[in-house]
């Protein structure tokens, strides 16, 4: 089922949680609402489910207006951040709850619950109480409970938030696989960009109650539409500069970039740590003299921190372990840094 969010706004007292948000979720897609806390992503998810009412705007399921329908008539599977399992009921009773309150025939409930428990890999644990399960298991009970009533869509609020790192990675790969099998329209909320990019087909980046950018993960990552998206999706080096003759002037460097601004515009350049190259000698490309202040080679990339003393600029640079071995960098080394790629935004581009 498709979801259409049509000019939704919501205020909580003096706080504008959502500001005229429009979004379409196509049938069968797996969409991530990504943003920092307070960006309105959870509020949007709750409005889709009917757990919160919008001040203005409409929600449509398959082009049918459901704005004023209560959650129990919407047939939506919702998984809460805290799982919200019924503590006094066993795993079996939790999963069967939705079927019972909808008065499914008794004979159908048991096989359905057992199938679901098998699907979430909890077969054999149906008699346990929620208190006797691990975090990951509880999460999967919550998921089975939400799926039991054959919902038209699945909404997940920070589904991996409360789990430890290893379980988290496992569970998100599993969710991706599950979605590939059952193709239910799914929206999940997360503040972790890595999670959003790994699991979702579509990523929607939110900030201050507005959508900053929506698109396929690769497209969003490669071409951030706003400084906020640039900044939010991982580490980035930020430069203040000026546009001159179609190039941006940063410190001693003149760099070409895609896009155009009027000469003399004050602009901000964004360069990701892996988009900076480092060398002992000045390269043919425009480069910046700097001094190495910190080296951390433990991990899949070597993280180097340098300071360009002339301009008072500190930069983070990621290089491959091979390149690191080749350069033999130490603290205090004098190096030349050259950008391979840069994105430029001027304050006039976006009214914030």
């Amino acid at each position: 089922m498709s979801i259409k969010i049509d000019h939704i706004s919501k205020r909580f007292g003096g706080f504008q949680a959502l500001d005229d948000v429009c979004l379409e979720v196509p049938t069968g897609s797996l969409l991530a609402l990504l943003g920092p806390s307070g960006s309105g992503k959870t509020t949007l998810l709750r409005i889709i489910a009917g757990l919160e009412t919008a001040d203005s705007g409409k929600i449509l399921y398959d082009e049918i207006d459901v704005t004023n329908k209560p959650p129990r008539q919407r047939n939506v599977g919702f998984v809460f951040q805290s799982y919200a399992l019924f503590r006094h009921m066993s795993v079996y009773e939790n999963v069967a709850f939705g079927l019972k309150v909808r008065r499914s025939p008794r004979a159908e409930i048991r096989p359905r619950v057992m199938d679901l428990l098998k699907m979430v890999r909890l077969d054999g644990l149906e008699k346990r109480m929620p208190g006797q399960l691990s975090g990951g298991q509880r999460q999967r009970v919550a998921l089975a409970r939400a799926l039991a009533v054959n919902p038209k869509m699945l909404l997940l609020d920070e589904p991996f938030g409360a789990l430890d790192a290893k379980v988290r990675v496992e569970l998100r790969q599993w969710i991706r696989k599950l979605h590939d099998e059952i193709h239910i329209t799914t929206v999940f909320v997360t503040h972790d960009q890595e999670e959003a990019f790994e699991v979702a087909d579509q990523v929607v980046v939110m900030n201050k109650g507005k959508i900053e950018q929506a698109g396929a993960p690769q497209a969003v990552f490669d071409a951030p539409a706003t400084p906020f998206v640039m900044d939010f999706l991982g580490n980035v080096n930020v430069f203040q500069g000026r546009v001159e003759g179609g190039k941006i002037v940063l410190g001693g460097m003149q760099l070409a970039y895609s896009g155009s601004h009027v000469d003399g515009t004050q602009a901000t350049g964004y360069i990701r740590p892996h988009e900076l190259d480092i060398d002992h000698v000045a390269s043919a490309r425009s480069s910046l003299k700097a001094r190495v202040t910190q080296v951390n080679a433990a991990g899949s990339v070597a993280k180097i921190r340098v300071v360009a003393e002339e301009f008072g600029l500190a930069l983070n640079i990621d290089i491959s372990p091979d390149r690191y071995a080749e350069l033999q960098l130490k603290r205090g080394d004098e190096v030349y840094v050259s950008p391979k790629n840069i994105r430029v935004f001027s304050p006039d581009d976006y009214v914030i």
């Binding site: 757990l51 039991a148 009533v149």
Partner: protein, 275 residues
């Protein structure tokens, strides 16, 4: 004990345990033992003769019966009151909230006097109720009514914090699964409140069994009809029948203790399931 105490990081274990034990001994165990000791100086036959008279049996039935009925009513009323106080905002909520505690602070004799004058045949309420056949003063009904008043705050105060901390997501989850409001309250909210309800019920019941001051004013204390067991004890004392008085006290003590143990057991069993 020393090795146990030494293993603790924070100091004060030994001191707090000694203080607690001393307090328990001086205030609770010694007086209770005095009662038992006094009663045990009687022969079994004398004891039975003292505690099992028709008059005493009627008094026990009234004390336990009225307390039980009052506790059940209080659970219903208290649940409603706590729900309204926690879930809704309305003008005068603060005042209502502090009024709940009034039965704690009011001397019970005052409550008894007020109720008896209200419901007496010539009282404000009594003048309308008595012609309808409702005798809410100097009757068994009067005992129940005044015990409901005395016990209500126990239930409300036991439920309020639990209701407040109840995760609203539980109710939302039930709603998303298609449960009606009524089903949600009955199948999700109430079971989560069960331990608090049981605690409130136990406290109200215990209070009802022990209540004296207010009841003696409203009941009329007619033997076989509206006489409660604590009043019987006072009567025996006034007639200098100390042994008989302590014998009846022993029965009350044993019954209350047994009741509380049963309720405690139920609470524990519940707690083991829900963690």
């Amino acid at each position: 004990m020393a090795s146990l105490a030494n293993r603790r990081v924070l100091p004060g274990f030994r001191m707090s345990v000694s203080f607690t034990l001393m307090y328990l001994a001086v205030l609770i165990v010694v007086p209770l033992f005095a009662v038992l000791l006094r009663a045990s100086s009687m022969t079994t036959a004398d004891f039975v003769r003292a505690v099992w008279t028709p008059q005493a049996r009627a008094a026990y039935a009234l004390t336990f019966g009225a307390s039980l009925i009052a506790a059940v009513i209080d659970v219903g009323l208290g649940l409603l009151l706590a729900w309204v106080l926690v879930r809704y905002d309305f003008p005068g909520k603060r005042i209502l909230d502090s009024l709940i505690d009034l039965p704690f602070a009011l001397p019970t004799a005052v409550a008894g006097l007020v109720y008896s004058s209200l419901y007496a045949p010539k009282g404000w309420m009594g003048q309308f109720l008595v012609p309808l056949g409702i005798h809410a003063a100097y009757s068994r009904l009067a005992v129940v009514v005044v015990l409901v008043f005395i016990g209500l705050p126990f239930v409300v105060r036991a439920l309020e914090p639990v209701l407040e901390s109840l995760d609203p997501e539980l109710e939302e989850a039930a709603a998303c699964l298609g449960a009606s409001r009524w089903t949600t309250v009955w199948c999700v909210v109430i079971p989560h409140l069960y331990p608090a309800i049981l605690t409130g019920f136990a406290l109200t019941l215990a209070r009802g069994i022990g209540e004296y001051g207010s009841v003696v004013f409203v009941s009329g204390n007619k033997p076989f009809q509206t006489e409660i067991a604590p009043y019987l004890i006072v009567q025996k004392l006034e007639a200098f029948q100390y042994k008989e008085a302590t014998a009846i006290a022993t029965v009350l003590l044993a019954a209350s203790f047994a009741l509380l143990i049963v309720i405690n057991f139920l609470e524990r069993q519940r707690a083991r399931h829900a963690t």
